[in-house]
Subunit: 393 residues, 2 copies
């Protein structure tokens, strides 16, 4: 097991009607003026934004607001937010929404005290040394950004989708998680969230540091819970217990709980980022296409843990023929994705003929000559994986 630091000081307030505590929590965490960041209509239409404002008012906390954050959030919105936050002198960025909104708030938080261009952090030109506090009222369980210190932003000019990580500065000080707020999430968006949280666990699971049994078992446990609960939510969108299980699983999947003490992979995430940067697809849907393809390629190149995953997560019968075991596990994963309405190849994702050369070129230009850890992938390897993702059954 590798040395590690695990430091997750976010206060998670979970359950029914918890958004009403946003004023008291903002105050408790030292806020005097909150800048609310949100996306589009649903937060307004549902009345959530009004409830949040009301709770802030009741607690005597001032606020300003910036809406209009879009899925696959972009840098121009971050620049706008940095300017507003400085002008309004807000000391807490309150993201009300899903991962895109939270990631935008985090990028603003890092950018406000920085003299240069916030994009420097994303291309390794600058180090985050200070940040405005971030807090969350979560409406979409998927990205896990409510518990992580990460942010992913797309630069419009050049279509670079890149990430930053600054756990000590960008983890939210508090995250309010009310599963009822996810009742109205459409089935497809719910399923995309499921794929995203599963991917966060699988990126941590496929590692060559194989002596960390505790992290294996935690990953497997959360995967088993998600696999059990997701179909219930697709079937009955207002099943509180199932929504609650999924919402908490999404946090646990990405705040580090399931990944200590070893190297992680993340090649699939990087490969997907290029797909959504060019084609604008939902991140989770893209992952549902790329992850099985990545695993299929791994059967021929590093099968061991794909087989362990097949046995422990999908209940495949153990056998000496590890490749068959692994392939059966991948088959069950794809069946599961299909059963909750997700695509498992490019065509189903709505991309009849992906421009693989361009994807591979962007990928390695943005993320380096070799990507991932479980096997370090060259451009020839990633080309093969993108091709596997085209395969129809």
């Amino acid at each position: 097991m590798n040395n590690f630091i695990f430091y997750s000081p976010t206060e998670f307030v979970f359950g029914k009607a918890t958004e009403m505590q946003v004023g008291a929590l903002s105050k408790k965490h030292g806020a005097q003026k909150v800048m609310i960041v949100y996306g589009g209509g649903s937060v307004v239409r549902s009345g959530l934004l009004d409830r949040v404002k009301h709770a802030l008012q009741e607690a005597g906390v001032l606020f300003c607001e910036m809406g209009g954050v879009q899925p696959n959030p972009i840098d121009t919105k971050v620049y706008e937010g940095i300017e507003m936050c400085r002008r309004e002198q807000a000391d807490l960025l309150l993201a009300v929404g899903g991962g895109s909104v939270v990631d935008t708030a985090k990028a603003i938080a890092a950018g406000v005290p920085y003299k240069g261009d916030f994009w420097d952090f994303f291309i390794g030109k600058g180090q985050i040394e200070a940040a405005v506090k971030v807090a969350v009222v979560l409406t979409i369980p998927a990205a896990g950004s409510e518990g992580s210190g990460n942010s992913v932003i797309t630069r419009v000019d050049g279509l670079q989708k890149l990430g930053i990580s600054a756990p000590e500065l960008l983890r939210p000080v508090f995250s309010i998680m009310n599963p009822e707020l996810t009742y109205t999430l459409p089935a497809f968006q719910t399923a995309c969230g499921v794929a995203d949280m599963m991917a966060h666990l699988m990126e941590r699971y496929f590692t060559n540091t194989t002596d960390v049994e505790i992290s294996d078992r935690l990953c497997e446990g959360v995967l088993l819970a998600i696999i059990n609960e997701a179909p219930k939510v697709i079937e009955s969108p207002e099943d509180y217990g199932a929504r609650a299980n999924l919402m908490w699983s999404g946090m646990v999947a990405h705040n580090g709980t399931c990944g200590v003490g070893r190297e992680e992979d993340w090649a699939t995430h990087f490969m997907e980022h290029e797909v959504s940067a060019i084609y604008g697809v939902t991140h989770g849907a893209g992952l549902a296409v790329i992850f099985p393809a990545w695993m299929t390629w791994m059967v021929e190149h590093n099968v061991r843990r794909i087989a362990q995953y097949a046995i422990r997560v999908w209940g495949v019968q153990s056998s000496e023929d590890e490749k068959s075991v692994a392939l059966e596990g991948i088959c069950r994963l794809k069946s599961f994705f299909k059963s909750i309405g997700l695509p498992v190849n490019f065509k189903e994702l709505g991309i009849a003929k992906p421009d693989i050369d361009r994807l591979v070129e962007n990928l390695h230009r943005n993320k380096g000559e070799r990507i991932g850890n479980y096997v370090k992938l060259s451009s020839q390897d990633t080309t093969e994986i993108y091709r596997l993702a085209c395969a129809e059954e």
Copy 2:
């Protein structure tokens, strides 16, 4: 799923040689003068105490020290510590040791700013509203106190062993966890630690809030990891990977990660506290005796989750006859305890004829007429369970 707050802001620094960071971490968390709390000879003999002092000196952090904390820590040591901490004006209590040392440091931390008797907190006469900061260099993985906001202290006068919980004030600000420091832990102490951490998971597992699949799966996962790693450590005390898995499992088992959103049980812990208060046995050894007896009683009174536990944790074949399934699971748990050198009845614990009447009387006087949640136990029930714990195979 019940509403909950999960707030675990401890910075865990895990791995080889991490104790050398204690000075820098104390400074980072605002300490100017540290009061080191420790137990007996081993911390001195191993040179750990010297290394800690050296690291504090190097970082320019002042310190004072109080040794002599014993297993099943007592109130008199807490009074002594409170006095010293006030006199020395220490602003960080650094526990160097296992659960007893950490619990003593926490009780001191709560007592220092309080005008009354610190024991008020343990008998519900006073509320903890402030505390000195606590930090840990852990040497025994077992109690999970390095990640929790709890403390258990025994009052010498009257032999009351009681606990407090103040997560926001008593969780350590940082915990240093170097698995190498546990190499010299004798096999029996190691096994007692294993029973303690398993008990922390099982107290959370046996609940009537049955819709929290994510907490079930997390508990099961950590149990599976512990069951896999413990025999390796008993066999090879210097197996770094196995020691590391156990050490981290002990933290995860008790910082709340595995128990959100539902009522927990804790009857077994309460029943064991009376045993170690009177007979001075090691907490984990007492738990290894009481827990299987408690489960055996439950087979006749609320079998459902004992059966689920048997299937998911011990791999018992599922069947319509839940009682048989549950009993087989209990049998495997006892075999496991025996295989790592633990007692599974009072006689093996060294108590040939326990004074059950006295245990039951103390238990219900200290903890109330009914204890536990999975089934709320009367004095007749707990008498039966203590009797079951006498049964030899």
